[in-house]
Symmetry: C2
Subunit: 541 residues, 2 copies
């Protein structure tokens, strides 16, 4: 029995780019060897990245996986535990982990519990494994599990009954609010219950709408946390096992983030990773003087730096002077490129062209949408000309009820606040102001009543219930899946609930054409809530 | 042993509207009773409709299913075989069929083979059944299977070994080109092989991007077809079993459609069902003088009638006079409302507003996109004002390589040709002209070289390979999933293949924000080909 050191490689893969991922793994391996680590563990499917979706179906995947194995086979003097796609001769495909030492494969583990709910589609791609993998190294008995496996009590119990001392868990566990701490708390209970230590490594980084927070950890068999890696940060973290004391020595324990700090950092990382992962030189967004675009701007600047961010104010007749002032003030505060483009001539030109068709029809939301679409087209023009990604600025409350214009303010490649309810937008804005010496978002942007400024003296609350009421109903309907009757029974006004639910159901078509955006909730729209557009479900019971 | 009559109720459900679906079933039951049918069989999940997606997760579903059972329990003197969602006390959810007689449930069958590939996600929602259901009625031994079950040879063999004479198969089998006949051919082989008769009922109707063709059939145990219901048409079809001859008597056998007729009718039904299912009074589309919009217009008119279709020509400087002439000629041929809106003033207005930002940057695709987005905004304005659905007119070849403008020509709620390659667009246009006395699409629209007319003398083939070459490569890459190297090995030019594949991979972001459209291929974009946007997969092997 010997003491040993384990490296937890909390990496951000490039989905599908096996060569680059293996290269990154080799760098971490070299670093771990310099640190005298005896074993290095990588996240779930670390060679490919998670989720690779239908790239998993490409016939040449197997050939590429073989190349990855070949490259990793050259590593000496450290045990590797990494994720890969295992295709067997009987044409089964598994989500697997390999244990490799000096080019020899000591064992292969096929994931047994394949999640196929929420954002997961693993049964589309993988067969279920049916065997445990345990191996002895340096006199210590290790077991291997992959992500969902460790959340299955029966699977965890089975492996703990095989005299395993430490379970190595490879993960690609998507972020949602509070999840980093939830994992640690739950796993700490499990470790104590099963009298087993856990080394838990999680993928980090944004991939399309999914955020992986990392927050890898090591927990001793008494439930004590020995290591907690930071969230939203790539890197290798080390822990030492003391064979005499039979426990992992306390290493870096990153303090838990407050909720708003956690969400903010999640959005910043996701936004940065999307921009850089898609190869954009920078971003552009429309700054309206309202809080959504103000917060989006702050996140963009924190993600990639002010020099790569362009903001454009596009006032119209109904834009208040203070909106222009506040937008300009914030752009100046943050040091971004700022321009103003009046849209009156374009909107008038649209109106003139449409006049022969419209005749004397009374004005309605059509005219409001023309303003929004003119702005969208201008942003796309600037994006096309200079290559910057358009960030769209709508929030989850708006998207839920369709209080947004398709091809207008919904224009963009990444919707930073897509999964953030308006009430949380306010909290995040205050949080962001609280962490810098001078507030970056002008106070007035936070305190004025929200308005789309698409008609004279318009306020959001003319069309929608107050945001705390709206968000309360939306949360119960979307995240909690309560029925209309059950939401009313909780004390909300019947007519308001009925109207809100109708709006949610009817606006699926808009959301379906919206940009993707980072998921922070337990029921985000993009991949997770799959509703038909033609939908005959009548709310009620 | 008695002779008997079976009704096959080939119905188009309203997804999620259980009350309406049950009402429709009751109407068919009454009709069947008038026809003296002894048994009526409905499609898979007939009470709910297929696919209901996450509506299946709503907590009140069970309560609603109970109401459906109650309504159907009142039926007397005919055996019902229908689809429903079966939630058991141990919280399992099954895709099930019930056999009901005079209010008594004779048996419940839980689907055993749950497809989770292609467009299917059944493992997201359902548990697998493990038991066969057989029942005797009128001296005849029936078995029940649901859709995928009958494609599993082992499942079909098992039930055939239980002395079953006829398998009743409830289906929601999505259409793709050639599938109606493929089903009959395969099932005829199976019937012969297993010496068993098959009564196969399929859902009909469009649901979002999926088309269900119906084409229900009855096959005798010698492989002979006794009934083949029409495709794309709702209704009940009847077959008589002759107990003396021990076979189903030959009834209506609808002739197989030619490929172009089949595709055309599929698109017409899908378009009509989407428009009506979403409750739009009519449609509007941009008519360019090109073949895509010409074909889309023809389909729209055939779907809902000329009086509900509005076409708008939106010429710009680069629009050829013959384009305007051809658009006007077709609109007149087809008797639709037609208007012309010159877009020069609007585009100029955009250019003037953007000039301070663009400076002397040379013109590029930005300016082309402004034209497309101006048109998109005009169409949306007309849609918003009068309530008609915008049909977008792009084809699969364009969408594959991104030869289309997001928020421009991609604007719309339903993209009729989304899954139709350009080479097939030509065939369909010719087909449509062939079935009316005078051609509805002007001959010149079909014969002139395709052009987006976004710059002077532009031709599609300036930017893209010839469409037969392009479509050949796209088919191999998308439908067949061949690698770049394998496509080149088939004799295509290396540079062309490399460029096309790059374009397909890079334009996932555009497709993700595009309108849904009817699936006719074995690998449509909307729901079936799930690729990441941030995608590091390098083409090659």
């Amino acid at each position: 029995m010997k003491s040993f050191k384990i490296a937890l490689a909390q990496l951000s893969p490039q989905i599908g780019n096996i060569e680059v991922n293996v290269q990154k793994m080799l760098e971490q391996i070299n670093q771990a060897k310099q640190q005298k680590a005896d074993l290095i563990i990588f996240p779930e499917l670390s060679t490919l990245g998670y989720p690779a979706e239908d790239l998993l179906l490409r016939p040449s995947l197997n050939k590429r996986m073989e190349q990855a194995f070949k490259a990793l086979s050259a590593v000496k003097d450290i045990v590797l535990v990494f994720g890969f796609v295992h295709q067997t001769e009987d044409a089964q495909r598994y989500n697997s982990a390999a244990v490799m030492k000096d080019g020899q494969v000591l064992g292969i583990y096929n994931k047994q519990n394949l999640p196929n709910h929420s954002v997961f589609d693993e049964k589309r791609y993988f067969s279920e494994g049916h065997q445990h993998l345990i191996f002895e190294y340096l006199g210590h008995k290790f077991g291997v599990l992959i992500c969902e496996d460790v959340w299955s009590l029966s699977t965890a119990q089975q492996i703990s009954q095989l005299n395993v001392e430490t379970i190595l868990v490879l993960n690609a566990s998507p972020y949602e609010v509070g999840k980093p701490q939830h994992r640690v708390t739950t796993m700490s209970e499990l470790a104590k219950q099963l009298n087993i230590s856990l080394v838990y490594v999680n993928q980090v980084g944004g991939q399309d709408d999914l955020i992986f927070d990392g927050t890898s950890f090591v927990i001793n068999n008494d439930g004590q946390v020995a290591l907690q890696a930071p969230s939203f940060k790539e890197g290798s973290y080390y822990v030492d096992y003391d064979a005499t004391q039979k426990h992992y020595k306390t290493a870096e324990i990153t303090p838990v983030l407050d909720t708003m700090a956690e969400i903010y950092q999640a959005l910043v990382m996701a936004t940065r990773d999307y921009i850089q992962g898609c190869g954009f030189p920078g971003v552009i967004l429309g700054l309206s003087g309202g809080i959504d675009s103000a917060l989006t701007l702050a996140i963009a600047v924190d993600a990639i730096g002010a020099d790569k961010v362009q903001a454009v104010m596009m006032p119209y007749t109904y834009t208040a002077q203070i909106s222009v002032e506040d937008a300009a003030a914030q752009a100046k505060n943050m040091g971004v490129t700022f321009g103003i483009a009046e849209i009156n001539p374009i909107v008038n030109s649209f109106m003139q062209t449409l006049y022969p068709f419209f005749g004397n029809s009374p004005a309605d939301s059509t005219e409001e949408n023309l303003q929004a679409r003119t702005r969208g087209t201008l942003l796309m023009g600037l994006s096309n000309k200079f290559g910057n990604l358009v960030l769209s600025t709508g929030n989850k409350s708006e998207l839920s009820v369709g209080y947004c214009t398709l091809y207008g303010d919904m224009v963009g490649g990444y919707a930073v606040l897509k999964d953030v309810y308006k009430t949380i937008v306010f909290e995040l804005a205050k949080y962001r102001n609280s962490i810098s010496e001078t507030p970056v978002i002008p106070e007035r942007v936070i305190t004025r009543p929200p308005s789309a400024e698409l008609r004279p003296d318009q306020k959001d609350q003319d069309s929608l219930p107050a945001y705390d009421v709206l968000d309360g109903i939306l949360y119960l309907y979307i995240e909690e899946e309560l029925s209309q009757d059950d939401i009313i029974a909780k004390g909300f006004d019947k007519d308001v609930v009925t109207k809100v639910i109708q709006l949610v159901d009817r606006n699926e078509y808009k959301r379906r054409q919206g940009a993707i955006g980072p998921r922070i909730s337990s029921r985000a729209f993009t991949r997770e809530r799959r509703y038909p557009i033609m939908n005959g479900w009548i709310a009620g019971v």
